[in-house]
Amino acid sequence: MNLELHEFRPEEVMAYLDGEIIGERALALADHLEQCTDCSSLADDFCALSQQLVGWKVESANLQQPSMDAMAASQDDEARVEALAPKISLWSLGTTWWPFFQRPWVWRVASGFAVVLVMSLVFISRQSLLHVKAPSSQTGKPVVTVSTEVAPLSPDEPGEHSIDNLPMGKSTRATNGLHIPPGPRARANSVPVDGADAVDNSVNATRAAAAEEMPKALAEFQRPDKLSEKQPVKGKNSIDFTLRNSQMSRDVPPSIWGVPIPGPNPAAPQMIERTASLSLTVKGLDSARTTLEEIVRHHYGYFAELNTEGQSEAGRTLTASLRVPAIELDATLIELRKLGQTGEEKQGGEEVSPQYVDLKARLDNARHTEKRLTDLLTKRAAKLKDVLDVERELAGTREEIERMEAQQRNMEGQVFYASIDLKLREEYKPALNLAPPAAGTRMRNALVDGYHTAVDSALDVLLFVLEAGPSTLFWLLLLFFPARWGWRKLRVVTAQKQSLAGAL
């Protein structure tokens, strides 16, 4: 069969007989089969072959229709079918899905979804873990975010909040991994920490920040009236300070962990300024200093002063003055003792309760006086002279009130913060030089030393001459003539005695 002479290939004839060619092509092929004997013969052969194949018949099957109950009975076959069925399903349907996955836009959309999913996960994880914001772009100062939430102290005090952290230093509790989820009424306080002069190891910065923020914080602390209702604090380092927004009076004492700290409340008479000094010998000063800074951060303290000294023939020393909340003093000392071997330790406490009560009483009186003077000024002072007198008296009273308030704040701060004078001394470890210097090096060093010695001695003589020469010359000139006259006089006398003796 010459294919070049036929319009249709033999495969198409076969496909036409199988019903795979339809439409005009099928009509054309049917016309061709009527005209072309070769193609018609080929078609007859295919039909005859199919007739022959039909002759292979199989016996009828005696299959039982499977049911779910029968499946449960045949456990052995189930395992095989279970493993087989999904593969068959996927395999048989794979050709349908494969063109779908070959389309580029499918992969683009899938990639986009994957990127969005990954970014969402990263964003969510960052939001859940991040508590400290980046430094403020406007001021360039680090900004510490302090999470606050409603303190469940007493339901009849809606203005109370529980502060998770004190804005007294550069560090926050968030850096220590503490996480407190914000409540429904949570708010965030952004406290800028002054780091402009944090040259001497953040001492000045923390001191300035604490000096700025501590009085405010102290003024906002309120002692809870119902300590029994205080919620248990999770974690050792969680400090809950009760904040009353509606009452900003300085007469309210602070509280930590529900424990009243010494304050101006007359109901809490004990106000003790606690101090401690500790001297330690540490092996490595650098590591000890790092740990020390961590301890101070850990206990909400700050460095009032920090100095380091180093000598070549002795170990380095670190002297620091720490300020930590009084309630944290014991825990801080315990951790400080772990820095090294304790050499000397002192603790002291000075009770300032009488002074504080006295100061408070004088302050109250001054305020009453101020109020009375104000009333006089507004109601009864009619003459100008009286008005001026009252104004003068009122100004003096207000000055006295401000001075006493400053003393009160200073006293509260001294009570609230305990002082620790810490001295760390590093163990001196002289360097052991096992290899002696070479002979050439020693000779060269000796030559250099000799040269320096010669130059130094000549220079010393010259300096001596220059220094003592003028005075020596002055005295020589001054004493030369008397000495010569006396010498000559002595020679004359001696000569007369010898001549007299010769004459006798």
Partner: protein, 196 residues
Amino acid sequence: MPQVGPNQPIRDPAALAAMTDERLMLLFRLGNSEAFSELFRRFSSPVYGFFRRRLENPSRAEELAQETFVAVLRGIERYEPRATFRTYLYGIAMRILMAERRKSARREPSASASSTPDTSADSCVDAAIWVQRAIDQLDADHRDILLLREYEQLTYDEIAALLRLPVNTVRSRLFRARTALKAFLLPLRPEVRNEP
């Protein structure tokens, strides 16, 4: 086509017989067991013939046919009418057949040689034996395509989907298989061989 609810039991054989295979599968998926009975009635013999023409052991062919329908039952929850039911069904049967062949090859390496009919008994064998012998001489790829077309009556597209081959490849292989089979049958059949 009669409108039948998915969960409504169908007792009318004519209504079931008028439905397509795919609709019956969907009805069965929705809980209509009569639909599966109709499918089993339609395809039990073809599936058995599928295995019987490819295996020597009739009882084993019966078991595998039964297993094929069990697999359909097990996979009914995952069935989606993306392809024809015949493609789906013979796909399952093909997978079971391949697994059976692998197992038989491990168990009886020379089993295929022993299954060849004795050519010395040419006079007493019928046409089915001659056809079987001729088909056995085909290449495996050509044989599968030929059997799927001639006995399972699958279209070229269905065969291509089943064997994951292009349609043109299926057509060319089928043509070569038929040409070769015709050549094999001519010298084997007595009436053909005795022709002048």
